[in-house]
Amino acid sequence: MSDAPAIRVEGLRIERADGVAIVDGVSFAVAPGEVLGIVGESGSGKTTTALALLGHAGRGLRIAAGTVEAGGQRVTGDRALRGRVISYVPQDPGSALDPTLRVGSALEHMLRAHRPERLTPAAIAAALEGASLPADATFRRRYPHQLSGGQQQRCAIAVALVCEPPVMILDEPTTGLDVVTQARILDEIDRLRRERGVAMVYVSHDLGVVARIADRVAVMYAGRIVEEGPTAAVLQRPRHAYTRGLVASIPDHGAPRRLRGMAGVGAAPGESPDGCAFVPRCPLAVPACSASVPPLAEVEPGRRSACLRAAEVPAPDVAEARAIAPTGGASLLVVDDLVARHGATTVVHGISFAIGRGECVALVGESGSGKTTTARAIAGLHEPAAGRITLDGDDLAGRARRRTPAQRRRIQIVFQNPTDALHPRQRVIDQVARPARVLRGLDGRAARAEATRLMELVRLSDRLYERFPRELSGGERQRVGIARALAAGPDLVICDEITSALDVSVQASVLELLVELQGALDVALLLITHDLGVVASVADRVLVLEAGQIREEGRVDKVLEMPEHPYTRRLLDAAPSLSAAVAGSG
């Protein structure tokens, strides 16, 4: 790698209209062919930073200070350099690609605007091939809606690539994709930086993905970089309490262990103007941490940390094993030859499985594998086309409203998006009390007492009880969803991707809670997820679903360590794993 950085950022500060900084004091440099990962949870300012690297500030924001130099030129304020010197790969190509532009035209537009001298069919073909897309005329005439999600993302990469800029900014480019496609895109990004020497800034909330792709990582919290250094070193031996908490929060199928969530929620911008923003959640905090904002200082060669107690940050506890409950008890729920259709398409092709009392079963699969449909069929929200579902030997009707109240009480579901699943105009305590009243027949007072007990159980602070859902954070809302499901006194709780909308630190504490509750209340859990790390952290048994059929089934440690079906192996190879990535690069 040459010494001159391809992109150098100095003292970047981005303010809201009211003068509060969303991003402050961000400085870094990336060499040609190097990938810098920027990780952070929602609200950390990582996307705002990514956009500012192109000199762009979102609505209501402005770049108040700092410079960005790319390819030896100052980027700030010069839009013509975008695409030519520095380009941007968006998070959701489905909406970022113009729906009225054919693939070929989108690439033509870029060349015509930035490199008109190179506007040739060969240049377009080269960009498509560079992004591993077919370059034939038929493909070039496709519209974005005619492409798969992976092709759309490759197309966005081709657009970013076509003018051969020395720097590319990638903002969560694989977030919406399934793991197998994600793994392929990551391989292609890696190839591009090696073959073309493009410097890359890769923004993501997913530490596993960043560990796989980035040479160096910068961890952002509340608008500042709190730690920066070589990826493997930072993840193995964090020098900031936040990084440590983050690493401990990540479920890892390569190293199953008990998850440790971080206390509290992410800091809002401007919350701690005079000190380290992580203090309220930090186990190591001392009074000096709140006195002034700790500077990002070199703590060892090549590593910087903004933690006053950098030397004392303990290594993440990755060895703490988790207990896996023995399987094979009495069956609570039996699914026998279930077939489910959406219109004319059959999405579940006759699957059979059983869930024992108090057992935690994970149903994993990619999007479209039929896992959510299966969950909805069990909950009585999707009428099966054929097959039987029995609860304690009694047949369950296809629709919840035709089931007996007792049956409805015993099976509860927690939905993926807690914002949509809660009543926006009802206080959360009333929402939790309702199932206790309606399904368990408690009177109003008893139901509220029960709701209070459950909300304590899911560790919701009592000042939140009388609030409306919009006044709660995402993690708090999901806890309300869980409390509401428990209020019915269920024997089985179906959790449909309940943590996929949450930040990893919040996800860890929700999963931690789930495991505890399962043990304390003897509830069976059916966990619907695409995340093998989540499976490894909480499930006892796992069912691998592909194209509506169960490919493999077994104890979680067995399946993850010695997968028998090629599909399971493919999923495991593709799923990002922190431990594997760190081991591979170390």
Partner: protein, 331 residues
């Protein structure tokens, strides 16, 4: 209706919409016929006036074919309409003429209306796009407020008020334009272009307001989309971002409102034609109602219905052409 287009392509879409249009028109023909037959009084009593003795009425009615049964008169009218024979004007026959084809009576007003509508549309479409885009790119600023306020005022004022105001300014005060647009029979209104200015301005003022507001709304939405943001991040000039990436995606939602404006304009803009004494379809329709020339009213109403349906189909077709997702199947 739109979602079904995906699978079957543009031709099938046109065929289906065409068939649906024919059915709609059949229903419309029944309603038009029934509604006009229910109206009290008929051409015979209107023509005879105070001389109407029962015998005279019966004689005139027989002469005009009004004594036949309702279904047979309906079928006779509809059959004629479909084959292009609108029949004879009852008023003309009652006045003693041997034949008074309705088509001859209304073809000139139709042409005049189309000329006025054409001029208005030719100005309306570019003007509302430019004003809408200007306002949308300056949301919350002076230009946006000015456009929003002026269009709101224009929407609130009925066309006879706007027409009268225009006459007041351009004829009474400035005396630069004529206050009426009298087109004599056999004369082309384009021969007197000055006379068309005020009627066209009146129509423009009434329709420009809502088309502009809808272009603005569609444009605001398009400019907030992620692909427009991405176009900025791809380094295209703001001008190109607005006019190519923004407007191109805002066009489809505005097509419907332009279609409504065209329907309004070709459907006989009665008030404006009356204010300026312009010999168009609207004025002709009013005249025919006054003399109870039921057959002429039915034929004109039916022609307007046909125009509405055709414009609707064309607008839907245009939307399909503008939105690739609607005309190409997903893979």
């Amino acid at each position: 209706m739109m979602s079904a287009v995906k699978r079957t392509g543009t031709t099938a879409f046109l065929v289906r919409r065409g068939l649906a249009g024919v059915v709609t028109l059949l229903v419309a023909s029944v309603l038009i016929f029934a509604a006009t037959e229910i109206l009290p009084g008929d051409i015979a009593s209107a023509v005879l006036g105070r001389n109407a003795t029962p015998e005279a009425l019966a004689e005139v009615r027989a002469q005009l074919g009004l004594d036949a049964s309702l279904p047979s008169r309906y079928l006779d009218w509809l059959g004629g309409f479909v084959t292009g024979d609108l029949g004879d004007s009852a008023a003309g026959l009652a006045a003693g003429a041997d034949s008074a084809p309705i088509w001859e009576q209304i073809s000139e007003p139709i042409r005049n209306t189309l000329i006025l509508a054409g001029i208005t549309i030719a100005l309306l479409v570019p003007l509302s796009i430019v004003l809408g885009v200007l306002a949308a790119t300056r949301v919350g600023r002076t230009v946006d407020h000015a456009v929003s306020t002026l269009t709101l005022v224009a929407i609130s004022l009925p066309e006879f008020v706007i027409g009268s105001l225009l006459v007041l300014v351009f004829f009474v005060q400035l005396d630069v334009l004529p206050p009426v647009a009298l087109v004599r029979p056999g004369e082309n209104p384009l021969a007197q272009p000055r006379e068309l200015v005020l009627p066209a301005l009146t129509l423009l003022a009434t329709s420009l307001a809502w088309t502009t507001r809808l272009v603005r709304a569609a444009m605001v939405e398009a400019l907030a989309s992620e692909h427009v943001e991405q176009a900025r991040l791809n380094g295209f000039s703001e001008r190109r971002v607005v006019w190519r990436y923004g407007l191109r995606n805002a066009l489809a939602p505005t097509v419907q409102v332009f279609a409504q404006a065209v329907q309004y304009l070709v459907g006989g803009v009665i008030l404006t034609e009356v204010i300026f004494s312009y010999n168009g379809l609207g004025k002709e329709l009013v005249d025919a109602v006054v003399v109870r020339d039921v057959r002429a009213v039915q034929s004109m109403a039916m022609l307007i219905a046909v125009a509405y349906i055709v414009i609707n189909i064309l607008a839907d077709l245009l939307v399909v052409l503008l939105v690739p997702r609607l005309r190409t199947a997903a893979s």
